[in-house]
Every structure is written in C-alpha cells, then in structure tokens.
Symmetry: C2
Subunit: 553 residues, 2 copies
C-alpha cells in the first residue's frame, strides 16, 4: 500500500462540489474516533469516519486498553470511595508537581487544567456505562490493579479505577484488539459510514470562516471533499512518527515510539493553519522500547511495559546501573534522556538490559513489549555471550552497527570490569531483598509489571535474584520512546479547538492524543490515556450534537 503523503494544511474554500454530506465527520478510528462516532450517531446524527491507514483502530489496536475511570460504576457498587476532590488532587499533584499547592482550592493548577480534571472525573464513567449499555464496549473491573503512584498520600483510591474490555485475555494484553472489534462492529451496526485509506489533508471553511468540511486524499490519489453540517472532530493521534515535530517539541530526544505508524501529527498542521493554540507540546506518554526495533521502524513495536526478569539489570555504557529498572514505564523512560552537562552528551541514551539463563527460562513472554522472549519468537534484538567477557564483546559489536544513528554511542573501556562489579553489588541486594541504590521492587506498580519469575529458589524480593556466576548471558539495547505524544491544539472540555484568544474555532473539534492533554508529564495510572479520552469523546459528542447546521456557501 503506497503511503498517502501529507500536502498543504492550508484551509480550502467552500467553492467546489462535494462528494458527500454528513452531520458530523470524524477523522481517525482509534478509540477516540470510534467512541465519538458512536456517541454522535446514537444522538441521531449522520456520521462519517475517515481513517488514513488501511485498517481501523490506530494506536488503540496495539494497546492493552486498560482504561482508568475514576469513581466508576464497579467501584461504586463495591463501595470503594473515590471522591471528586481527592481524585482531582491526585491528578494535580502529579501533573504539575512544581506548582501543586495542597491548600489552594484549585491545588495550584490553572483553570484550564482544573476544568479538564473535573471533566474527566465527571464524565469518564458516564461514557463508559453508555458504551457498555449499547453493547459497544463491555468491561471487567480490574480491582487489583494499583495506580502508578498508589503510595502517594494524595492517592485516596489507589485501586479500583482500572477497567478492561470484557473479552480480553487473562493477561490483559489484547484489550485494544477486542475494543476495536466491538466498537467498530457497533458503529457499523448503527449506521456509521467508515472509510479507510482516506487521509484528511485540510478543512474547508465557508464564507464566514466556519469549518464545514474536509478535503481528503484516498489511496488512489483522488481528492474528495466532504461536507459536515455540524462539525468535524479530529481524533487522529499524536506526532510520534513525525521526526521534525518530535525533535522540535518533545523534551526528550526520542528515536521513535509505539503509536500507529500513521500518527504523524496531521492535526498539529491542520489546526495551526486555523490559528489554534498548541499546548503540552513538550510531553509524551513514554515507555522504554527496544532500541533496534525503534530504529527499524517496526510497526509492531510495543513499549516495554513489563521489564521482566528478576536476575536482570540495566546498565549504562559504563557498565553501571543508573536507575530502578522496575520503575513505572513512563518514569523509567525518562532516565534515558538525562543530560550530562560536563561531557555534553546523553550518557544513558541507550541502556543495556542484561540477564541470565534463569530469567530467560522463567520470565520470557511476547506480551507487554518484553525483551526477554520465548524460543521461537523474534529475538533479533537479543545479544548473547557465554561469559560476561563474550557478552560485552557482542554488545560492543552490536552498538557499532548503530553508531551513525546513536551519536556514536559505544561501551566505555571499563564496561566489562564495571559490569562484573555491578553484578556483584546487585547480587548482594538481591540476596538481602533491599536495593540500597535504587529501591527496586518497593512499590506496587513494580510488582504489577514484574512478570513471572522462577518459583524456586525464591527470593526475599520477587523483583531481584542474583545473576548467575556462569553463562550464558543475554542482553538487549533499550532506549526511551513514546507510546504517543500528548500535545496538540488546546481544546475546552467540549473538545472545541481554541484560537489565540481562547475562542472556539467554529465547527472544529478534537479529542485524544491529537489534542493537548492536561496531564502534562504525568501518567496517573494504567489506562490514564483511554479513560479520560472516553470522557472527552462523550462531551464532544454532546456539544457537536447541539451545533447548529451550517451553510455550504
């Protein structure tokens, strides 16, 4: 399939014929696009969904699709308290720690952020229940899953907010496929017109400047024009795969990420051309990723949510541990981007996971982006050595392949010696169960993602076991990546895109990773992407439904 290239985002004029007319046009078919389309069509609107890629589902299809829904129906049924003020406090504390003020009415965050947190709390459960009742997305309650910051005193409901598509497998890894299947089936059942291989290039404005349509290129290179009486809702994802945008906006020099390959920041261009403000452009939903898969632009790349293995450590090019390997993925990812202001380099840009046969035998899996994979699975990224010396040598050779794209990153001469010392020190921690350097395994989220380990001999801390004195040894190159970005046009809680005076651009909406998230750098919990997105889909659908019909002149 030839890629449909991006062309000018400059808005087009109303003059010219149309290839179809609808009440509402939705661009994108991940969870945001499908949920918005469903809510909108259930209100009686004629809806068109345009998907750039050749299959439905965008990034959502690759996701586990946990969804974080504060004060959800299952919590309420179980009597688990999740008060609004407390939930907003938790979001504010993590999103803007530098100005968080426990005593202030708004917790120190600006009105925009506060209103977004409030909208999430008030609407995520409503959206969730609506989807469930309509048979578009049934769920099961993951009441054992903790928030990623469950230990913070500000988290008053540390477990219970996470839901999962009902038919997802026991390991909870395929929720995205299930959700896209059930949601798109409901959309088709209920009359939503869905077209793949249609890339929205720009919007069409009528003579008074209202957004009333889109111009699209399809896979045959044909330009199509669609009219939308009420509104256009963009749900086109972030800019993970636009190198220029990544480099010029993100706080971290990432090599790539896990979003659908079609997430190229289209809405940044399209909305900017209409005078939209951009917000939260500096942050992304982040995760460690396998460096070689990112460089290869592997469309199947999944974030290393689960840094599995107990007899496993990450070391730097100096052969030293630099962080708690089991840190929640969004936080671990940021370790790769620490800047060394004395040497003028990112010393951790690639870290090396090292493990032994125990972890290979007992912690391998092809789910949750694990780098320790079972026999028979693609292990092109795994480096092997019979001894620490042989492994070090093999790592050096592997890094040499990439020196043209990694800033010349190579092992320090003392790598092998340091690695031996690092293993010895780690093994001491593993025996005692206490990681005196990085406190590995002391938080709930670390156990959640620890994966399976050898049942015997067991260890005082299930995240750590001494690395064997004898080989074989294994290694993989890791870096930090995006799941997707979280910046884009600023919207109000109804999803209306705002101009530089905070006034809505009439007819233009956005939901999901294509618009600005008020979470700033925070990753509140598993599903903190999708749960809030559902709230905003519901709000946008309500607002779009109430839009007056616009004139095509």
């Amino acid at each position: 399939m030839a890629k449909i290239v991006r062309k000018s985002s400059s808005p087009s004029s109303i003059k010219g014929r149309f290839d179809g007319d609808f009440d509402v046009i939705v661009a994108g078919s991940g969870v945001a696009g499908l949920a918005t389309a469903l809510f909108t069509c259930w209100q009686g609107n004629k809806v068109l969904v345009l998907e750039k890629a050749s299959e439905l589902g965008g990034t959502t299809r690759k996701a586990a699709f946990w969804y974080w829904v504060p004060n959800n129906a299952a919590m309420r049924a179980a009597g688990t308290k999740d008060l609004k003020k407390d939930c907003i406090r938790y979001m504010a504390r993590l999103s803007r720690p530098e100005v968080y003020n426990a005593k202030a009415a708004n917790f120190g965050v600006p009105e925009w952020e506060y209103s977004q947190y409030e909208a999430i709390y008030d609407n995520a459960s409503i959206a969730t229940e609506t989807l469930r009742k309509k048979g578009a997305l049934e769920y099961r309650h993951c009441d054992f899953v903790p928030d990623y910051w469950a230990e913070l005193p500000e988290d008053k409901a540390p477990k219970g907010r996470v839901l999962l598509p009902k038919d997802a497998r026991e390991t909870m890894s395929d929720g995205g496929e299930v959700a896209i299947r059930t949601m798109s089936a409901a959309a088709k059942r209920d009359g939503v017109d869905i077209r793949v291989n249609h890339r929205v290039q720009r919007v069409i404005r009528n003579s008074v400047g209202e957004v009333v349509g889109v111009e699209v290129d399809n896979e045959k290179g044909k330009k199509l024009r669609f009219f939308a009486r009420k509104a256009i809702v963009f749900c086109t994802g972030g800019f993970t795969h636009n190198v220029e945008l990544r480099k010029n906006y993100l706080a971290a020099p990432v090599f790539g990420g896990c979003a659908a390959r079609s997430n190229e920041g289209d809405f940044v261009f399209i909305a900017s051309a209409l005078g939209a403000q951009l917000r939260n452009m500096n942050y992304a939903w982040m995760c460690p990723i396998v460096f070689e898969k990112a460089i290869a632009k592997d469309p199947a790349l999944i974030g290393t949510f689960s840094p599995s293995g107990d007899s496993m450590i990450y070391v730097s090019k100096e052969g030293r541990r630099v962080a708690n390997e089991k840190l929640a993925y969004n936080e671990m990812a940021q370790v790769f981007f620490r800047w060394d202001g004395a040497r003028g380099e990112y010393p951790n840009l690639i870290l090396i996971a090292v493990w032994d046969q125990r972890s290979q035998d007992h912690s391998a899996s092809d789910e949750y982006g694990r780098f320790i994979v079972p026999p028979g699975k693609d292990d092109g990224h795994v480096i092997k050595g019979a001894t620490i010396a042989a492994l070090s040598n093999a790592i050096a050779q592997r890094l040499a392949r990439y020196e043209n794209v990694s800033g010349g990153l190579k092992l320090a001469p003392e790598f092998e010696n340091n690695l031996a010392a690092t293993v010895a020190r780690f093994n001491g921690f593993a025996k005692s169960g206490k990681d005196a350097d990085y406190q590995r395994g002391e938080r709930q989220v670390e156990l959640l993602f620890n994966g399976s380990v050898a049942p015997s001999p067991s260890a005082p801390n299930p995240t750590m076991y001494p690395i064997s004195d004898t080989g074989p040894y294994y290694a993989a190159l890791l870096t930090g990546g995006t799941l997707d970005t979280k910046g884009g046009p600023k919207t109000n809680v109804s999803g209306q895109v705002l101009d530089d005076q905070d006034k809505p651009i009439v007819g233009l909406y956005g939901v999901g990773n294509c618009v600005a998230s008020a979470s700033a750098r925070a990753y509140w919990a598993g599903g903190a992407t999708i749960g809030p997105i559902l709230a905003f889909c519901h709000l946008a659908a309500d607002a779009v439904h109430k839009e007056r019909k616009k004139r095509a002149i």
Copy 2:
C-alpha cells in the same frame, strides 16, 4: 506606564487607511532589531522600528554582549585558524549529540540545521565588520575567552571567537548598554524612524495574501496601521515572560527568566496565525537565577553567569551536593529540572548556595548575576546564620514563604546533619584540589566565571576552598531560568518565515530569539546568541532589500 495588552493575532485586511508607509518595518529594538534596521537602511530603504516597551534595547540592554563570531577578522589577523568544516562540526556535535556523526558529510544533522550553521560561519564576521566600519558597533577582541566546550576534541579553535563592544568596562559586563547606545545612535543618525511604546498586534495582508503591514497599539490605546512595501522583520525576542507558552513548550518547568519583561512570545502567535511552522520550541538559553528575584518578577534579574566563591557549595533540600556548581551556566541550569521518577517530584527545583565569610569578603560583586553581593547592595535574597544550625533554620523559614509557588518544597529533616557532612566532604576535596564527586574546576569555562577569590591562603584548585568551621554562614535560593527562549517560527537562512510546506510566507521575516535557533539545546560559547544573530540580521537585510514592492490593495 500601563502595559499594552496583547490582542488577537489574526491577520488584518488591507482595507482601511494607513498612518505611515515604509519600505521595511522592523518590530523590536534589541540587537536583532537595530542591526537589521541598520543594514537595511544602509541599503537605501526607508525603515521604521517599532518597540513595544518604553525604552529601546530589549533583552540586549541587560546582556554583557559578548558576541561569538567564528573566523572573525581579529582571529584572521592573529593567524588563528578557524576552518569552516571544523566550526560546523563543533556546532553540530553540541546541538544534536544524539545523532552527531563524525564521518557524515553533514555530521548527521538535517539540512536545515546544517544550512544555519553554515550561514553563521559565513556571515557573522561580515556583519560584524560592516557594523564596525559604519561606526555602529566597534569591538575589542577577547582572545583569552574560551568556548564553553573548549576541551572537546571537536573544538579546533577553542579561543578567539569572542568579541565585545569596544567601550565596555574592563569586567565586560555592560556591553549591552554600550551596544544599544552606539547602535541606536547610528540608527538615528542614518534616518531610521524609531518609536517606543508601540506594540505590534498583527500583520496586514493584501488581497493576494502577502504581508504588507502591521497593526499596532500605542501606549495611549490608539490603533495605528503602517504599510511596508518590502517586508516586515520581527525581532521581538522569545517567550520567557509568557507563562502559558513556557509551560506548554519548554522541556523544563522554569519559574521565569532574565529576558526583557516585554518578551512574551508575540511572534509565536502572530506567525502561527499565518500558518508558520514552529521549531526548537523545547529549548532555551538557560542560566541559574536567584529564585526570589524570579518569583518577584524583578525586571533587573540577571542570570547567575558567575557562581562566585571558592568556599561555596550548592546543596539540595536533602543537604547534599548534586552537581558541579561551576558548570557552564546553561548546563548547571538544567540540573534544577532533574525528575525523580520514584517520588514524582523535581528534587533539585530549588538548590541552596551556601558560603562563608571568606567568600563573602572576597567574592562579592554585583555583576554577572552573582548572589554573593557587596555590603550596601540589595541583599534581600541572602539568608544568614551564625551557625550551620541557625542557617538551616533560616533557610527553612525562607522556603516556607514560597511553599505555595514551589510545589511545597521544604528542607528534609536530615538537612542540617547532611549539610555538615557535605561540607566536611567538600572541604576534603578543596584541600586536595580534586573534586572526586563532580570534578569542580577542571574545565576552562569554570575558571573564566569563577570570579575573584581571596588571594591568601591560596588553594590547589582556585574554585574550591574549605568552608570555615565557624560562622557566620550565608545562603541563597537558586533555580534554573531562561536568559530567553530559543524557539519560534522556522525561517530559512534569509530570515523568511516558512509555512507548513517550507514555502516562505511572502513579506514576513524573523531574526533573533523570536525565531527558531538551530542550536537546539546547545550553548556553544559566550556570545553564541548575539554573534549568530548578527549573521542572520545581515542576511535578512540583504533579502529584504531585494523584495519587490507590494501593492496596497
């Protein structure tokens, strides 16, 4: 003076009368604005300069105005080699270390960056000599000043690139005032029309969409419209004082910065409304700053370029050193923003400089943003204590004043004990002359900014001397800040602002901190702001001069 507030940046139509017409209109009167105006007027154009503030000079007036000019005339006269390829290599190595490739023709950086480095090398000296010959800016050669990364093997001309306004004082701190004086005098002499208290709100486009003028509000609230036959050049500085832009674009959660208070990112809005691409929005020219001055929005705030004092250390809220205090300022600033992914906080957001009577007596100065100031100077930011215990207590009290704006940052319970241990460890390093933790004083730039120290007793390392066992002790709260930001609309080397297809927006130019810098995060040397800016002013003036005259319909 009432502030002239920003209004909509949406472009205005050509319809309506004009209050003046010019060949070229320049917005902003810092070094970029004045140099562009001068170069342009010397080519025979009728030029108007519009300055938003009530005085000329913008951020430049506050600067030392070192200017970094590769292969400058003084170097050539002295026989100091500075080859083009080597100089570009140095810029590329520091600006994009994550992709720098020593073997590639373009050193691994994209074409846009490479073309910008090339333009700097080729034009900074031409611009400098033109200004000198015309009597607008004479200079002296600071051949003893090293680049900030003089020790890197990629720096083949580690000294010699820095120039300074000829009449700047011996300490080189008042170059900005001198330069603004001589440049604005030349501009007036040569017929440039300069108006202060005129805020450009938006551009005016003619019927074919070309940028042909500006709408301005003056201090009386009157709207004025000026026509520009050839072009508008924006030189309006960065977005240091726009909290929203800072928060949503910068990689670091800064509290403020040192740019002129009028640097509020106007050009981000004005150019975005025309479909410009934004680039390098994540990075800034950074420097440690005195936290309390930043919070007070002190318009006289100067970056702590010189972290003076030998018996002086920075400690965290835990009472521990976390970095080499003498690191080049742009690098030290970034230490404040390290993220702790286990605790969900910025543990270094405020660091505490601690010094004793020796440093107070011998390292005080009111230049280069020093926090150790002489008697009689404003020392409202200085915290005092007769003993370490008393000082610790006073620091805790001072921090408590700010807990509503600092994310509640407070001293750890173990601060006082840790501080005593930290002082003891530092004192050992000072005695031996070797800082085993952070290598303080081992690089040339650290000596350049060390400031004066007590001549006797002397120490093996002039940046370190044991902190006294007896009080009094002094402290100051520091954070990281911007000198100014370095993101904005993308331009080509002629200063033309580019749309989303990399095509120039006809009639619209930008130079200086209001447009995107290809330096990314790097601060190549002292004067790495102003030297390159002069190159781009010269190039923009050439391009603007050649613009055809546009129609006012």
